[in-house]
Chain length 350, copies 2
């Protein structure tokens, strides 16, 4: 009889942040792929595109004209999923039909006036300006007492539903606490109550001791493939210090966050020598919800690609109906990401 090995045998792993399990099938990459092959969008954009509603000086859907900005900029989404003026209302029909009105707002955050760049191609100084804008937006949005959670995120690449290649992210602020935040809230709260330390501080110590899933680090942040990663090249950035939200960072930490964002996204682009698609976003303490000392700021990256620039992982039948499943181990993915350069392939002219 063989011994059980996490490198070889099917197993489940527990996500300590959500309480969910993930099915890992390390042996399954051997299967041939005859399925859908993605087409890559062209990667030779001009620095300015007259048809782009995010370029400086251009007109947006609501008629507003963008200023001639020279850094990051923010405005309210012209087709927002959440609206500030939603009237109150709710329904509970025998506990079977349950619904409630939802208030909020959706903001668009342009990362740069340049149409042709993406996050890893900006300088650390330019990324710092994006982080400062995130902080400003977070402060501004949390001033509305109706808002209880502020989700800062980016959909990068057509394959992730991004409808405009101009580098940008979004912020959706809502009156309800969203599902994923609620799960992480409960788990972090229980751990903090029991241990007096944040869940991610303890987890980070464990990962730093093992060095198996670390991708890159600096003085204030660590990027790693979480033990329970679901997407093939999923990663997480964790602040070394236990900080509850983006407003808690010192000036040094803002610089270090810009640095690790550049390093991690550069490694991603270097994996398949393409502008690497993902959805990424911060998780942090809810606002206007009382003291949240158990929250530990972190950022998730969920990239869809599996085998190559054109073959993605499909989270479909079994994953939607039963349980998320992955085909390579998180350790294998971490090793590949760790082996890549932190000099962007487009800058590498040797």
């Amino acid at each position: 009889t063989t011994d059980f090995s996490f490198r070889e045998h099917p197993h489940t792993r527990f996500n300590i942040l959500t309480g969910d399990w993930i099915l890992v099938s390390p042996h399954r990459t051997k299967r041939p792929w005859q399925g859908k092959v993605e087409t890559l969008p062209p990667d030779n954009r001009p620095a300015y595109d007259p048809a782009c509603y995010l370029c400086p000086g251009n007109r947006r859907a609501d008629g507003a004209v963008n200023p001639q900005f020279d850094g990051p900029f923010a405005f309210t989404n012209d087709f927002a999923a959440l609206l500030a003026d939603t009237p109150d209302g709710s329904l509970n029909d025998d506990g079977l039909l349950i619904a409630a009105s939802e208030k909020g707002t959706c903001r668009v955050i342009g990362f740069s006036p340049r149409h042709d760049l993406t996050l890893p191609q900006l300088t650390v100084e330019e990324i710092k300006a994006v982080i400062r804008l995130w902080q400003e937006e977070f402060r501004m949005l949390s001033a509305d007492p109706a808002i209880h959670y502020i989700q800062i995120f980016e959909n990068k690449g057509e394959i992730m539903g991004c409808s405009n290649p101009h580098p940008h992210g979004q912020i959706w602020a809502s009156s309800h606490i969203p599902l994923e935040i609620d799960k992480e809230n409960r788990r972090q709260e229980a751990h903090f109550r029991e241990k007096g330390r944040s869940l991610l501080s303890d987890y980070l110590d464990k990962e730093m001791a093992l060095q198996e899933r670390i991708v890159t680090t600096n003085e204030h942040f660590v990027a790693l493939v979480p033990f329970w990663a679901t997407w093939p090249y999923e990663t997480m950035i964790i602040s070394r210090r236990h900080v509850t939200d983006v407003l808690g960072f010192t000036a040094d930490e803002v610089t270090a966050l810009a640095d690790i964002l550049k390093k991690l996204t550069t490694r991603y682009d270097n994996l398949f020598n393409i502008s690497f698609p993902y959805s990424a976003g911060m998780h942090q303490a809810p606002v206007n919800s009382g003291d949240q000392p158990h929250w530990h700021w972190h950022m998730h990256f969920y990239p869809p690609l599996l085998r190559s620039a054109t073959v993605k992982k499909f989270m479909v039948g079994y994953e939607m109906l039963a349980n998320p499943q992955r085909d390579v181990t998180p350790e294998w993915a971490a090793e590949r990401l760790r082996g890549l350069s932190e000099l962007h392939y487009k800058e590498n002219t040797n």
Copy 2:
């Protein structure tokens, strides 16, 4: 001040089966779409394809040769995500790294020897033979005491990760109870304990009284858009009788299930006059887990398309990091599906 309206204003709805909430943004379809447009796979397949590993008489990856079957057929997946001979093993490192070995098996279910057909194009008799094979497989797989859940499902269409257009589904049987089943288990158990009736019996009575979300019905089954539907055209088939799993159906119910499967999938194909992609699957009682009287058999359909045959709904940044979100109301989707013919567009030669 306006009154709150579920047809107009952003709101959240509660999924009584899982306990999760979904964000609904009825007004959001107005936004223009400049994002990814899917390419449709060719829809002129031959009745027999010599290169297809699911066609009769052809050789599979493991060297086995398919028999000259004339109905549905089943075999073990040559690249299974779950394996029967996984050694036992588990890990719990300070409650931070938690994992356990997983046993199981993955089966492939060919629906027809014909390479060029799909479920809605089979006759009711032919679909009945598929249901009988599902029953046979369910009986056979549950005979292994290591198995606790049997997930019967279909990924249809390239866009849903289906790697071979020959009509087929899959069955994954696992030693753990998967995440989605665990959620539905708890909610159905609590309702049954409190009310002495299954959750879906009570829900079905409510929907039949309202007639707002019903798509099609027959003597033994109802197809509807659930009040908490996440995907634009998501539907659910519910048995009128409280039956815990697919083995509990009478001969009449098997015929009626075949009938409603044909009607629902025909309506789907008629929506955009294409072979409509989806992931679909049954939810039913776990096996080898003691008495499960609270379980009520049902089947979910999760189709990705939103606006047209080529523009899908992306469940990305906000949805992955925060909360699932939809852009049209379930009532609007039900009305559209209800308005379609139950004669397949390819058979409609007028």
